[in-house]
Symmetry: C2
Subunit: 298 residues, 2 copies
């Protein structure tokens, strides 16, 4: 297991994008600034995908312009194509993220393009980013199952992850978008990808739809992964399962990591405070059990 | 990892005992009968601890007399002492469970007796049970932490587990009563106990107070444990952390086990149906994410 794990906090993007509550721009900025003060090194700030697709994050430019950008903290933003990339440059982003599914059916439904077409769209983004000195993170979604095609062949996951890495993504995050995976399958998937993409360039991204996320994280840590995506308060949801849980809660991941003797650099109390603040803002219970337990402990 | 795991369903006892809703006797009977039809082999039915301590289960005798006792399914009941044991005999129980903490402070607060005093109280229970052909299960609580004394020395856990096994308990369940454990600590604890009590005679029992339960189960499966306690719908709570989650949800455990290719003999759909039925009865959301996801999947 790694001695140190970097958490990629995706609450402000993957979390809020799937929450039904409307969060004011000022609150999004406050959320990111609070997260910046916890010791997190990477906070995915927002998405420059068209507001037609992601209305929750229509204020991406205002949010990005408003946050305090702490030295040592990266604030990647999601971009769908070169046009989106250019909008992020206008606000001074120094890290972006691109995404495609491992499932052809999912990618077509979600982005109106085949996987190869998506990859082709990212080529100029990566080229421009290289010239600009901007780092690019890659996401592969539906790595353990797809709501449309069901099973996703392992070979497709490996192919897409390898392509993103070969194009220049410094890190590839492997996402179980619908949270159906179990630890053995997560482990096998990660191991297969790691034969083509070096483990230090891989991250895992689990949703807790079926309650398996933390167990899956554990299995992947045992395989050597050292970067974990998660969302404070377990923010988010699943558009494919009404009422489902969202991303694995950052607080629960950090509590586990610290218990395992793995360093994260994160102040769990501050993180949990932020999680409860966010939950109150969203008008619901926190999705983090560690956050709840910390509150009960006073 | 084991090829087959036996789930010990503790919802009707450990679950209901810690739920604030009053459940009518007939509903408790229906709960157990429904669980009996899922393929579960062990269902802890109720507790003959004094109603002064456990008012939720004051109707233990009526419940036990009312359930359908399926061949091949064991229905243990919790007993605090010989007097409790005799009450279970009057209703024809063929399996009982005794309990003590690994934390001296917890045991004194919870049972008004030191650990050695508790063990001494169980000696005649085990003696009588042996003569009666009744099987006895032993619980060790607070194996990874105590709400009063904090840390619980590993040596104390090992000593108590060994004592219960030596007295004749056919199985010893190791319980993280306050759900503070993380996978590395759970693994180390189990490994230490397994040096004194054979692994096939051990079970693990996790509460999800800090969101760690399923990851802890996974770590213990990797150590070879093949018996897991859990509660349908994640029933229960934690008297030491207001608003906290209860036992790890049986549905989530079974979903993980089946995903790992481990046989349980349980029909997950039926189990999840029962979990949602119970949650409705308790007037709250199910505590099982797999149960929720199955409902969303239609």
């Amino acid at each position: 297991m790694p001695q140190r794990v970097r958490i990629v906090e995706v609450g402000p993007r993957d979390g809020l994008q799937n929450e039904s509550a409307q969060v004011p721009t000022a609150a999004k900025i406050e959320l990111i600034d609070r997260l910046s003060a916890t010791g997190l090194q990477t906070i995915e700030a927002t998405s420059f995908v068209s507001p037609k697709w992601v209305p929750q994050l229509a204020d991406a430019a205002e949010v990005y312009a408003g946050i305090e950008r702490r030295p040592g903290v990266a604030y990647p933003v999601l971009v769908p194509n070169l046009q989106g990339y250019e909008r992020t440059r206008a606000v001074g982003a120094t890290e972006v993220a691109v995404f495609t599914a491992a499932s052809e059916a999912f990618n077509r439904r979600n982005t109106n393009a085949g996987i190869d077409e998506s990859l082709a769209r990212f080529a100029p983004v990566l080229e421009r980013a290289r010239a600009d000195g901007v780092r690019v993170r890659g996401y592969v979604s539906t790595v353990l199952g797809c709501p449309y095609q069901g099973e996703v062949p392992l070979a497709d996951v490996v192919r897409v992850a390898r392509a993103l890495h070969a194009m220049g993504c410094y890190e590839v995050s492997l996402g179980d978008t619908i949270g159906v995976g179990t630890p053995g399958k997560a482990r096998t998937m990660l191991r297969a990808v790691a034969m083509e993409v070096p483990m230090p360039a891989l991250a895992v991204h689990f949703h807790d739809t079926w309650g398996q996320a933390l167990a899956n994280v554990l299995a992947c840590l045992e395989e050597g992964v050292a970067v974990v995506d998660s969302a404070v308060a377990g923010a988010g949801g699943c558009p494919y399962a009404k009422g489902a849980s969202g991303n694995v809660a950052s607080e629960d991941v950090v509590y586990m990591l610290h218990g395992l003797g793995i360093d994260t650099g994160i102040d769990l109390d501050r993180l949990a405070d932020t999680g409860r603040w966010l939950a109150a803002l969203l008008g619901r219970d926190t999705g983090s059990k560690a956050g709840k337990a910390l509150a009960a402990a006073g």
